[in-house]
Symmetry: C2
Subunit: 360 residues, 2 copies
Amino acid sequence: MKQMMIKSASTSYPIYLGKDLLINLDQYIDPTYSSILVITDQTVATYYLDKVIKALKQFPVNQVVIEPGEQSKSIESFYDIHTRAISFGMDRHSLIIALGGGVVGDLAGFIAATFMRGIDFIQVPTTILAHDSSVGGKVAINHHLGKNLIGHFYAPKAVIYDVSTLHTLNTREIRSGYAEIIKEALIWDEAFFNDLLLTNIYQTDDQTRVNHLYHGMRIKANVVQKDEKEQDIRRYLNLGHTLAHALEQQLGYGQLTHGEAVAIGLLFALYVSEDVYQNKHAYQPLLGWLKKHDYPLTIPETNVNELIKRMKTDKKVVNRHIQMVLLKSIGQPVIKSFTDREVRDFVTLFLADLEKGIYT
Amino acid sequence: MKQMMIKSASTSYPIYLGKDLLINLDQYIDPTYSSILVITDQTVATYYLDKVIKALKQFPVNQVVIEPGEQSKSIESFYDIHTRAISFGMDRHSLIIALGGGVVGDLAGFIAATFMRGIDFIQVPTTILAHDSSVGGKVAINHHLGKNLIGHFYAPKAVIYDVSTLHTLNTREIRSGYAEIIKEALIWDEAFFNDLLLTNIYQTDDQTRVNHLYHGMRIKANVVQKDEKEQDIRRYLNLGHTLAHALEQQLGYGQLTHGEAVAIGLLFALYVSEDVYQNKHAYQPLLGWLKKHDYPLTIPETNVNELIKRMKTDKKVVNRHIQMVLLKSIGQPVIKSFTDREVRDFVTLFLADLEKGIYT
């Protein structure tokens, strides 16, 4: 088992990364909690809920099983789970466990942050994508006008990452998760990026996957430790995300997974970066790699003005200008401000090129 | 003008307390905010909104005016104000100003805590009651199963308290506010309590009122500085509040103001304290003082079991036992755990005695 500590100005918590952690979950949990609420989704529940409940038999345990997918990060399910938590008799000494991927972690974490003004929670990720979302304390629900617009920074007490759960992921979930690992490599570590370009992510052994996850989480940890509240370098982790969030919303959540949208967003960031900084390093190799792994790269016909409008309700907007993370080179991210018109031109050209299969 | 700093583990912020601060509001606000949203209610808006908007003319300013009263601290208005804030084009560098009493402060503060994962806000209290709620960073909305159950600890950047606004308060609002000042005196300062017992709160001059507010806020500041997250001595500030919250809810918000409910809750806490600790200091003098000031002390016929059930969904419950703040003597609060049956017996006797006008 690998272990690391996340330390920031306001908090510190451990990450445990290894095999078969779920069956001994109680070993990582303070026995004095008055009760535990496990929040998970239907897919994860089928595989792992019984195992988790069994491991927690020394506690009074309740469970809430949500529908899988972004639509569960709504104000309605937020309120509904609060109702249930109150009805279960939970108090300020209760614990919430987020068992699942990013949706479960974001929603359960935001409920923990707001239940009776904040109770403890533990992230138990079961997807590759959640290696990213489970670290750093970002929790949120969606607003109908934008993704993750209602939320908070609220760190978990621990992240307990049982990589054995990754065996039940399908190819779509694997590629969704690896998009965030690619992102971490792009902003921080060129050697890691080149290593990933040589990897077939559908045929990695457990040890390689653990190494990739560990490396990605290490990068994330380095960033969020220095800037917990996203006032400075943490913004680099948004590489590819402004377009990604707008696409996810515009196409309807579920059309593209978060990671698939991020993959397109990363390509776009490289497309703009190569134009702005006249470097030609990463766009083409990444495009080739994404194609090899069957990432969806053609987007259904899309209203670009609508897309720009969505990009402008993003949290990264400052004084109504869209802020994009670009790369001067791999490992050298910068923030650049663009007018609507500039972004519109880039998006239009980018989508047209993708459509035509033109490799710039 | 009086000034004090609130310093706690995670934050520090100033309180300005004086006359005619609203007209110079801009002097207390960082000029680099990208925009400001003023949240207030219809009553306060009539008197002070124009003045505030005028004082902020150097900023892009938007406003949201809610209905006065607890019913506005709902999940619906929470979401609706988020929608409007997004539509106004607010970003992470925007500021929220809570102009009003406790309801406005709690709601606006919780929106600030959750808008794009948290933006700055400033408390501008306009009631006596809000001298309490504006300090200490408690923000929340109500759940239909309990008051303030969804919220967070989120400190304002400043509290700007213009006591000139208190001239427009009616007698009901004055007595509501003084209940919290009485509470602060009871948990901390016997001399202050005795001083208040000699005061006619409807006939105090500005200077006396400022002194009472300053003294109350000083007590609150002392407590929250030592225990921001209510894990220890901050719980003493809940004196009278477990019954008060249950009563407010059971009778329907608006029947009793928060402070009127707190006054009854304080009496109840003294009633139980005198029984448990066999001291006879405060119940009777407080009862006399409350009667003299026309606090409503007879409660419409009430289902006691229902009341106990509500007290049990309070945030102060631990392992399903009701935690009551009692006073060993004035200035010496303690927390004591009670079973349902014990609380039921006390509540029944207390209400019967109040009804009969028996002074124990």
